[in-house]
Amino acid sequence: MTTPFNFQPLELPAELLTLRREVRAFLADASSEWTGRDVGHSWTGFNREFSLEVGRRGWIGMTWPKRYGGHERSGLERYVVVEEMLAVGAPVGAHWFGDRQSGPLLLRMGTEAQRERFLPLIAQGKAAFCIGLSEPDSGSDLASLRSRATRVDGGWRLNGRKVWTTNAHLCDVMIGLFRTGGPAETEKHKGLSQFLIDMRASGIDVRPIRDLTGEAHFNEVTFDDVFVPDDMLVGREGEGWAQASAELAFERSQPDRYMSCFPLLPPAMDKLQELRLDDRLAERRLGESIAEMVVMREMSLSILGQLEAGRSPGQEAALVKDLGNTYEQRMPELVRELIDAPARINPDDRLSDLLGFLTQTVPTFSLRGGTREILRGIIAKGLGLR
């Protein structure tokens, strides 16, 4: 029997329960001061103090070798920590991108010197990374990007602009994708390279982009003859496209692709019970949400198992992100359907604050990490339709 995808189940061993309880106890304590809006930010929330504490507890770079400041624990252990953090909407943004993307990239493709220098800092929660991919004219069509790195004595000069870079104004290092070969018109995927860029280097200008929530966690980053030394090229020159694509495949299957709105459910349940609205309709809607999430988690765990086994389930990851985005985007509407929320955001009321923030934020969920329509194209291609 042939199916176009592989979702072999992965069962989390019971031993992980100890770690889960440890993380839960820490978070129960740490979360006491978080507002609804804080919790809504979840993995985009930037809190350096929190990340330092998480680093001290050994929960960043968990799977990395000890010689790079890692903890040589399993991917399954890391998964438990990640989902516990997301379940309470912990502000993991200051270490998230380094832990999830940049660190693993350096482990795979970086030089020994790059690993020794950056990985311990990420694992301690001291170095915050951002990802420089999108540009004003290149969103999901990344291969069309134009920002350029030009060879100079001892290194490269960067010129161009990156946009939608989350928390660039707070980060220490960017991993940026720049054109080092021919122009976008003729060499789309070819001639792109990744660089480690010190965000305090001269010639970098970070301009906040205020979004509709009234905040500015997105940024426009302008590069004006920024010098990057030779040893900050990541991997091989011209191979940046393949390197960045591999990162995206990993990014698309993780719990952050369906858990961003999860922290909304518990306070909504409380409110429903308090108002005695936990009726047949509420039971059914909540039940649907639970069923969908359990199944998505099983899919995500399966992908983790495949990654651990050295496979790269790109098709499956795209499916999870597509389903996950639809799921998390629906969550604020589901709550509105069950509770008659007034047309005001009340910062003193956790549910109101969280609902207000997420209602205005969820449209971005099917954009980040690859637009839904682009992902559906990838899925269609995998099915043999193009």
Partner: protein
């Protein structure tokens, strides 16, 4: 363990070959006209698959629910017009209760019946697929807080024929003071009787039907030409089929998840797994049937095309053994009762057992 896997793989392959060769639109139509596929059934029993779940000491293959999940899925993928899954499930229950297994196709009941002090069973089954054509039905009866597996003769029961979406013979059973042919203990069966097990079977069958529908849609997309190119080259069609693929993948994962939960042997797990699977499969079926009929256009709703044999079964199965709405309500009620602080714990299912 690895030996079990081999038996499961071999069985799956054999059944797939048999179904691929034997099940045609003619066979489906005949079954819907009320003709039992006797020849197909004989070949199935000759393979010994009906007792796959039965432990080896009782003469079965001793496979687990996880091992037989691919076979159950094939029943959906081929819209097999025989009660194979039901018979496997019934045989498993009879063997677990230490009862003899009649070598005929069997029906199973999702209801919990009452057993009176004189050892007679009463109850109502709103819909039992195949009942009008079968000799026996297996179900759970309760007496003074104790559960029993019962084998009843359908001839002893008032059976009222019903019309269904799938048009497979079905009946409502009014059971009044019927003396069981056999009765035994019901280990591993909780308060909901066999409903979670039938719900799981239907979920896995739905996953199979969705798998077939996806394959049909991809094939049609690549061959049906409109406006000078195969319709699968149009982005709108690609996106619809990609969405269908997502539901199909989730369906497969959900069905297998429910089987894994039954395999733990804990009734509460079996109930949770069934609730998750039936809820997820119901919404998958709703969206998938809409997409498939849109992809196929008018040809998909004609009797000549095979699509309707799958979409009608999806509509049937999502309603049987508790609809997706009913199971969602069950999940929601449990979550409310446990309280919001326990929600994540219940989802992560890591504190259980």
């Amino acid at each position: 363990m690895s030996e079990d896997m081999n038996i499961s793989d071999i069985l799956t392959e054999q059944i797939d070959r048999l179904f691929s060769n034997e099940i045609t639109a003619k066979v489906w139509a005949a079954a819907e006209d009320g003709n039992f596929a006797t020849a197909l059934w004989q070949e199935i029993t000759a393979m010994g698959v009906t007792s796959a779940l039965v432990c080896e000491s009782a003469g079965g293959a001793g496979l687990s629910w996880v091992d037989v999940e691919p076979v159950l899925r094939l029943c959906g993928r081929h819209a097999a017009p025989v009660p194979l899954g039901e018979t496997m499930l019934a045989a498993w229950n009879l063997a677990n209760a230490g009862l003899e297994i009649p070598e005929v196709p069997l029906a199973i009941s999702p209801s919990v019946w009452q057993l009176d002090v004189k050892g007679r069973v009463s109850g109502i089954d709103p819909l039992i697929a195949w009942a009008p054509q079968l000799e026996y039905v297996v179900g759970v009866a309760r007496s003074a807080g104790k559960q029993h597996i019962c084998l009843l003769r359908i001839a002893d029961i008032q059976a009222i024929a019903l019309q269904t979406y799938e048009r497979i013979p079905a009946a409502k059973l009014n059971i009044e003071h019927v003396v069981p042919v056999q009765i035994g203990d019901a280990p591993h069966i909780g308060k909901l009787g066999l409903k979670p097990h039938l719900a799981t079977l239907r979920s896995v069958q739905m996953a199979g039907a969705l798998d077939r529908i996806l394959a049909l849609c991809v094939e049609y997309g690549n061959t049906r030409v409109q406006f000078g190119k195969p319709i699968g080259k149009f982005q709108a069609i690609q996106h619809m089929i990609a969405e269908l693929a997502g539901h199909t993948a989730a369906a497969q994962v959900a069905g297998l998840y429910a089987c894994r939960q039954i395999a733990t042997g804990i009734p509460a797990d079996a109930e949770f797994g069934a609730a998750i699977a039936k809820t997820r499969l119901g919404s998958a079926a709703t969206r998938a049937t809409a997409i498939a009929h849109q992809v196929f256009g008018a040809i998909g709703v004609t009797d000549e095309h095979q699509l309707h044999y799958f979409t009608r079964r999806l509509w049937q199965w999502r309603a049987e053994a508790g609809s997706e709405h009913e199971w969602a309500q069950y999940l929601g009620r449990q979550a409310f009762d446990a309280g919001s602080a326990m929600l994540w714990d219940r989802l992560a299912r890591h504190a259980a057992a």
